[in-house]
């Protein structure tokens, strides 16, 4: 944390605050019925996405998951375009054809959120093959959860990355729930995901995914290793999901007081605030100002999404090579 400049700290906080407020606002707006489909909120995991992506530029690539809003924002996707997409609007980031689970912006290295759990890991290996061929020292990252770590695709991808020695990075965000099932039940390797990556022959790190500095610093060491040409690597980030699997999930699987407790004890934005103000790197007022700016941005995004044009029936046939 000492290496980070004031600007870098402000930027990281802004990204995390943007994700938090984006998701909290969606949680409220979904209740109005204006937002179609299934939405999976990233709230609580902000330090993971931002702690990873603050190390990247537009030529580094990520693939994301069904819980992808945080990865998109951390990678630099346009927040207003995202909000319009989630509202299903014609001028959304994907023209209203993708929605919450399928936001992509390949121009900035965001290769796509994905509705199929475990689909992204092999794609990151392919992107890493491309990165290696291009020879510009870029990396490709697969975000996966404690659910996707049980998919065979993830195992295949880890082995292939090791065999081909490509700069693929497997980021396992363990938020303790695969949908509605606990990781203590579903992850057979002594509840430890990183050891699986080690078993496939790659170096793995572990960090607190609810702490920006723990994630950021550990990821820095990991990236030094991968960018040196050493091959793939993995990191397991222990974190928390503040909401359910999807919006509307009654979360009957949670223990008594659990949600209050993780919000009290493992809120990465609060922790960031305490750390940087105690270390006198930023003032509380600096962070308050960002909170206010972000609130304004999110308000503008929601208003823009509400006002944005919807698609017409003939738009169904756009961007297809043939219709029958």
């Amino acid at each position: 944390m000492k290496q980070l400049s004031r600007d870098a700290l402000l930027r990281a906080y802004r990204r995390m605050a943007t994700i938090r407020q984006f998701e909290e606002r969606l949680h409220d707006e979904i209740k109005t019925g204006e937002i179609p489909g299934f939405t999976h909120l990233y709230c609580g995991q902000e330090a993971s996405a931002v702690g990873v992506c603050e190390h990247l530029d537009d030529e580094d690539m990520i693939v994301s998951t069904h819980r992808g809003h945080g990865h998109c924002i951390a990678k630099g996707c346009d927040v207003i375009g995202m909000m319009k997409e989630i509202y299903g609007r014609r001028d959304g980031l994907c023209k209203g054809r993708g929605g919450s689970m399928h936001i992509a912006d390949t121009a900035i290295g965001m290769l796509g959120a994905n509705g199929i759990v475990g689909a992204g890991a092999p794609q990151a290996v392919g992107a890493a093959i491309a990165a290696k061929l291009n020879g510009k020292n870029k990396v490709a990252i697969a975000f996966s959860g404690d659910g996707a770590c049980n998919q065979g695709t993830t195992f295949e991808a880890m082995n292939m990355a090791v065999v081909l020695k490509v700069p693929a990075i497997f980021v396992f965000e363990n938020n303790h729930y695969s949908e509605h099932t606990g990781f203590q039940y579903a992850v057979g390797t002594a509840h430890d995901i990183a050891s699986r990556a080690e078993a496939f022959g790659m170096k793995a790190w572990r960090a607190n995914g609810s702490d920006f500095f723990s994630t950021y610093d550990t990821m820095g060491a990991l990236l030094d290793y991968v960018r040196s040409g050493a091959g793939p690597a993995a990191i397991e980030l222990d974190t928390e999901r503040f909401y359910g699997h999807f919006e509307g999930d009654p979360q009957r699987y949670r223990g008594p007081g659990e949600l209050d407790q993780i919000r009290a004890d493992r809120d990465c934005l609060k922790a960031f605030r305490v750390d940087v103000t105690n270390a006198k790197q930023l003032e509380a007022g600096d962070l308050d100002a960002i909170d206010a700016e972000v609130a304004d941005l999110i308000e503008r995004a929601v208003q823009a999404a509400r006002a944005a044009p919807v698609s017409e029936p003939q738009h169904v046939l756009e961007d297809v090579y043939a219709d029958y």
Binding site: C94, K95, A119, P122, V125, I129, L133, E156, V320, A322
Partner: protein, 336 residues
């Protein structure tokens, strides 16, 4: 023009296109072969002989032998395409789409449309398919119907060396994912192949025979069965149009409908079981759009609705044959 086999036409096209475009990479099991063995890499050159010599010329960074991991092969191809490459993934047998269906059907087929049209995923998947080599139920199927049912995938079925070159070149120049089906019993088929750049546009059928009495639409290896039947029927004074669609997605509907409007009689020959097949698809097309031209009910010559049996006798009985096509043509003419 040079005379060569379909196998060599594919190999030569891969050589030429990889030389032209450094973004083309190959991924698959044993496409070079021999990695990590005493025999050394390129001990095999692809079990079908289509990828021989490529690793020597383009190196292991572009000709990538993979573990047996079809989901990772096709998934990596998808990711490499999103990252700007043009991957050619080989599935040694088209039956293996069962272990990578998600990457084919939910991933590469969807990206362009689902991500708003700004992203393309130009993956070519080479799928080796077809019965006739006693490879039994899990190594003989012609699963082009399954992938044709998925919007976002183009599907090509070359049946001549020239079309193998022309369609593969076209696939490697386009922006959409292409499922390129190569029949294992056709690799040795010889024919003329144009020199230099040669492209066959998708969605344009080839008229393999013109006869005028009956329209036969045949798919893949069945084109040669239909041609044999047409020769037998010509000797009986019956003229057949034999249409090779060459690509089944997109499908040249016009060529089929034009012919049926002239002949009024349709036989479709498809090397797969009858339900939800290209045979039913093309028959439905004609029923919907050329019904009033029909002089007789269309006939479908397909395999039966069973897994593909192993023994020579059973597999022969399972497959369509020139004789079955001949009988179907006589049937639609009322001369059965």
């Amino acid at each position: 023009m040079a005379i060569m086999t379909i196998r060599d036409a594919i190999n030569r096209t891969l050589h030429e296109e990889m030389e032209r475009d450094s973004n083309i990479i190959l991924l698959g099991e044993d496409i070079a072969g021999g990695a990590g063995t005493a025999g050394g890499q390129e001990a095999i050159g692809g079990i079908w002989g289509t990828t021989g010599g490529l690793i020597g010329k383009f190196g292991p960074d572009r000709v990538i032998d993979t573990p047996i991991s079809e989901s990772a092969i096709v998934g990596a191809a998808a990711g490499a395409a999103l990252a700007g490459k043009r991957p050619v993934a080989e599935l040694m047998f088209s039956d293996f789409i069962g272990v990578c269906a998600d990457q084919l059907m939910n991933q590469i087929a969807k990206f362009r449309y689902m991500f708003g049209g700004n992203t393309s995923c130009p993956v070519v998947v080479r799928l080796i398919y077809g019965a006739g080599m006693n490879a039994a139920a899990q190594h003989s199927q012609a699963f082009y119907n399954l992938l044709t049912a998925v919007p976002g995938l183009k599907v090509a079925l070359p049946t001549t060396p020239a079309d193998a070159k022309g369609l593969l070149t076209e696939a490697l120049r386009g922006q959409d994912p292409v499922m390129f089906f190569e029949h294992k019993a056709l690799f040795g088929k010889k024919g003329e192949v144009p020199d230099g750049e040669y492209r066959v546009p998708f969605g344009h059928a080839r008229m393999a025979r013109e006869g005028g009495d009956v329209t036969i639409v045949a798919l893949g290896r069945m084109v040669s069965f239909a041609e044999k039947a047409a020769d037998m029927l010509a000797a009986q004074g019956i003229g057949c149009d034999v249409i090779d669609p060459r690509t089944i997605s997109p499908l040249d509907e016009e060529a089929i409908l034009d012919s049926v409007e002239q002949t009024g009689r349709l036989v479709v020959v498809d090397e797969s079981p009858p339900r939800c097949s290209l045979a039913t698809d093309i028959t439905a097309l004609v029923a919907e759009k050329a019904f009033t031209s029909l002089k007789a009910p269309p006939k479908m010559v397909t395999a039966p609705h069973t897994p593909i049996p192993f023994s020579r006798e059973l597999e022969r009985a399972w497959l369509p044959s020139p004789e079955k096509v001949e009988a179907a043509v006589r049937d639609v003419l009322g001369r059965g």
